[in-house]
Amino acid sequence: MDHLDELEAQSIYIFREAFARLKKLALLWSLGKDSNVMIWLARKAFFGKVPFPALHVDTGKKFPEMYAFREQYAKEWGLDLKIDYCPPIESIDPTLPPAARSAARKTEGLKLALAKYGFDGLIAGIRRDEEATRAKERVFSPRGTEGGWDVRDQPPEFWDQFNASPPPGAHLRVHPILHWTESDIWAYTQRENIPIIPLYLAQNGKRYRSLGDADITNPVASNAKTIEEILIELETSKEPERAGRALDHETEDAFERLRVAGYL
């Protein structure tokens, strides 16, 4: 087994544990590279089927390429796609900095979707290496009834034994690719030939490393026109992956505040 095989086997194990132990699961599909890898892994875990809905909490502000991708692959992959819209910006805490406030719509949209469908488990494609507060996450991460994350009182988790009993009204976040890195994602995408949104590849000296809302996500300078070139670029880059995400840079704790409130 090589490194990618090990990562894959571990993720499949997590998917199967989540499906065995939770009653009503959904996979959060953001259309980005990570969640596409996640869907691929789910199909591996369940022999081609994704036996739970793929939920897209839509801000309505994604790039057109992302919407096109969603339509095409929801069909091609046989997904039970559920699209739910986020509430308008006016309903969001005005004390948040602008980009964080914009991103917080997604937290609220997620809460509404949770209430609507009654999911007890949400599968999310976050990774430890992306961002400091995500490094603190458990694979099975309990949330409060309001969707909040109590980072100070996380239960112990070891030996692939997971805390999978959310109290009534609360839910769990399940993170099957928590242990992957950005390079792992690209190497695996290449090996498995998983489709990607072309925005990740360089055009006119720029590419997107991370895709969020069109108005608060910026491309980075890059000449990487293929996945192979992305991998080489990542090897030498010292830029953070989320450098193009405005919300991470507004205040020191903007992202943490979002996450404690239930952001991904």
């Binding site: 990618l4 199909r43 022999f47 603190k136 239960p155 390079s183 792992d184 943490e256």
Partner: protein, 664 residues
């Protein structure tokens, strides 16, 4: 795949590194290189290392320093951090690199594990920083359980402290064998070789006693850099490896291919016409055509195919670590929690385990506690029947108690509600460990020390036949659910009288009671048993098994047996599980002796009856039962009323007629 790697010096190798996080103010960095191939095409080994030790002994400082010494920080990062510190009016600390969360910075201690990646000469290192504060032991365990090796850090001035010992003990319980000791803050003891030796000797002795031999003991000053990547003149007397060299010598945990096959079943999928048994191979390997046994039931089959996606089926052996799906050559009842093994090297099936555990729950673990046990993918209710060697692993001399307090360790005997397939930790480190859950939250875990396999050592080809009658059909007729009503108490306390009266009452109401009298069963089923402690346990176990079988088939089994041992009764409860209703017939000893219905007290007093429970102190009164009855205070009829009320309250008896149609 990439082909870019060339052998590099340490500092340049680490320049391309990968760190996941630092301070969260937008300065966190780069990418990781876990999949880099070396020029000959092999993958660099990735080792995961946890840094543990007493609070304030310098874990985060060491990590910060390591990043700097290995050239792992992006250009300008250090200057930025120093500027941020100045802005906050705080002196710069290396640990700021790790203090990722606002809350941590405020409090000045690391509260959770953070993972950081970098490279040494020949390794990709994932550093797991685990909190040293006793309050966060669960986080230390969460972090350390993912590690291949550990660095245990000790303050040269303070020396070995309680949390140092506790973390050492936990490394042993977590099965981490590769441990490097770092004696930090050597600058505070003037780089004294004597002080270093003193600490080195003490901690080495402690770890070796636990079966962990330190790979190295290294004198360092994380703050100033001595011993981290260089042997500076300050530690000229030391000729062992530096921290970076020690990390470079650690090995990644290897998949357990060479051990016997263990495939714990995660689920059975029928998404199409295939019936796929899914799970991860924890050890050994399997292939199409292998003859396998499903434990604990002992059913035998052959592997028909190994299924996969997108290509399927796949040929060739599948080794440890793989998540697989298999189909069998025959239709067998297989469920989540079963373990698939090769016929000649199967795990044992058991209802009794002994384990060495650590306990993280607020309330101490005590004898008789009902717990949920997770062993691989198996989940089972269980009872803690005995606790030994419960100690605080942080204390040097600690007195063993009968309860395991939070953050303490101990050995426990566990009685399981159902048979499970189990290995000892010594036979299989992956499957020989368990986790205990309380109220849906992981509360402890540990290593299986021994498996009491009972009578059946070899897997037999046993296929239990379940009744075709459904329990709701029986319940509708009897107007009660199945139960085990267990009457315990001194000889002469009135157990049999109550049992007979209860049997009559239930029967008259249309129910289906069955009396199991201890003495009556001793005349037949149990006539091979005497009155030694062992035989008494076996007597109780058989009574419980028979009673549970009756209860599962809708009858109310009424057991009247002295059953003097708390452990044995806890085991009986473990067998009957939620069907168990214990009644303590608490008639005072003097009244029992005065009644003496069978003349046993008189004989015992005269010395002609040995091993009689009653005149000695060998009856262990229960502390927590469903009902307690003193027959010297309560008439038989009233006592039976009380039992009926208890059975109604606890959902066994019901008045309304169940509408069978509503269940269809």
């Amino acid at each position: 795949m990439r082909s870019t790697t060339r052998p590099k010096t340490l500092s340049s190798a680490c320049a391309s590194l990968a760190i996941c996080d630092a301070m969260s103010d937008g300065m966190d960095i780069a990418v990781s290189q876990a999949t880099l191939a070396t020029p000959n095409g092999t993958t660099r080994p990735q080792v995961r290392i946890v840094i543990v030790g007493h609070v304030d002994h310098g874990k985060s400082t060491l990590v910060g320093r390591l990043l700097h010494e290995t050239g792992s920080l992006p250009d300008g990062k250090l200057e930025m951090l120093k500027a941020v510190s100045a802005r906050r009016g705080m002196p710069f600390e290396w640990s700021f690199l790790l203090d990722a969360l606002q809350t941590e910075r405020d409090q000045g201690i690391t509260i959770d594990t953070t993972q950081i990646r970098f490279r040494t000469q020949s390794r990709d290192v994932v550093l797991i920083d685990a909190p040293g504060h006793a309050e966060f032991l669960r986080n230390m365990i969460t972090g350390a359980s993912q590690a291949d090796g550990a660095v245990l850090i000790i303050d040269a001035l303070e020396g070995v402290r309680d949390q140092t010992r506790r973390h050492g003990y936990l490394l042993h319980l977590l099965g981490i064998k590769q441990v490097a000791i770092v004696v930090n803050k050597m600058d505070r003891v003037d780089f004294s070789a004597a002080r270093f030796k003193e600490i080195s000797d003490e901690i080495s002795a402690h770890l070796i006693e636990l079966g962990v031999t330190p790979a190295a003991v290294i004198p360092i000053s994380a703050r100033d850099g001595d011993g981290v990547a260089e042997r500076t003149p300050n530690i000229a007397w030391y000729d062992g490896p530096t921290v970076v060299e020690a990390l470079d010598a650690l090995h990644p945990a290897r998949p357990l291919d060479e051990l016997a096959l263990r495939l714990p079943v995660q689920a059975i999928y029928k998404f199409d016409d295939r019936r796929i048994i899914a799970g991860r191979i924890e050890s050994g390997s399997l292939n199409t055509g292998d003859e396998i046994v499903i434990m604990p039931t002992g059913k035998i089959a052959k592997i028909k195919s190994v299924e996969s996606w997108p290509q399927t089926p796949v040929a060739g052996p599948q080794g440890a670590g793989r998540s697989v799906g298999i189909t069998l050559d025959r239709e067998l009842f297989v469920e989540r929690g079963d373990v698939i093994a090769h016929v000649d090297a199967a795990p044992r099936d058991t209802r009794r385990l002994r384990a060495r555990i650590f306990w993280l729950h607020d309330a101490p673990l005590t004898e008789g506690t009902s717990i949920l046990l997770r062993l691989g993918t198996r989940e089972s209710r269980a009872t803690v029947v005995a606790i030994e060697k419960a100690v605080d692993p942080g204390e040097l001399e600690s007195v063993a108690t009968k309860a395991i307090a939070r953050n303490h360790v101990g050995e426990i005997d566990i009685s399981l509600a159902q048979p499970v397939a189990a290995d000892t930790y010594f036979d299989n480190p992956r499957t020989g460990r368990l986790v205990i859950e309380v109220n849906g939250r992981i509360a402890g875990g540990g290593l299986v020390l021994s498996v009491n396999a009972g009578q059946r050592a070899v897997p037999a080809n046993i296929v239990p036949v379940e009744s075709a009658l459904r329990s709701d059909e029986r319940a509708a007729r009897h107007r009660h659910h199945g139960a085990v009503v267990w009457l315990t108490g001194l000889p002469g306390s009135g157990k049999s009288t109550l049992a007979l009266a209860l049997e009559r009452r239930l029967f008259d109401h249309g129910g289906s009671p069955v009396l199991l009298d201890g003495d009556t069963l001793r005349a037949g089923l149990n006539n091979d048993l005497g009155f030694s402690a062992q035989d008494r346990s076996e007597n109780v176990r058989r009574l419980a098994e028979v009673a549970t079988h009756l209860a599962r088939n809708g009858h109310i089994a009424i057991v009247a047996a002295v059953s003097p041992s708390l452990h044995d009764r806890a085991a009986a409860r473990g067998i009957a599980d939620t069907l168990f209703r214990e009644i303590y017939v608490a008639t005072p000893a003097a009244v029992c002796e005065q009644r003496d219905p069978k003349g046993h007290y008189a004989k015992a007093r005269a010395g002609t009856l040995h091993g009689f429970t009653g005149i000695g102190n060998d009856y262990q009164a229960p502390t927590a039962v469903e009902l307690s009855i003193d027959t010297s205070q309560l008439a038989v009829n009233d006592a039976v009323d009380a039992i009926e009320q208890m059975l109604s309250r606890s959902g066994i008896l019901f008045d309304e007629v169940i509408d069978l149609a509503s269940n269809i």
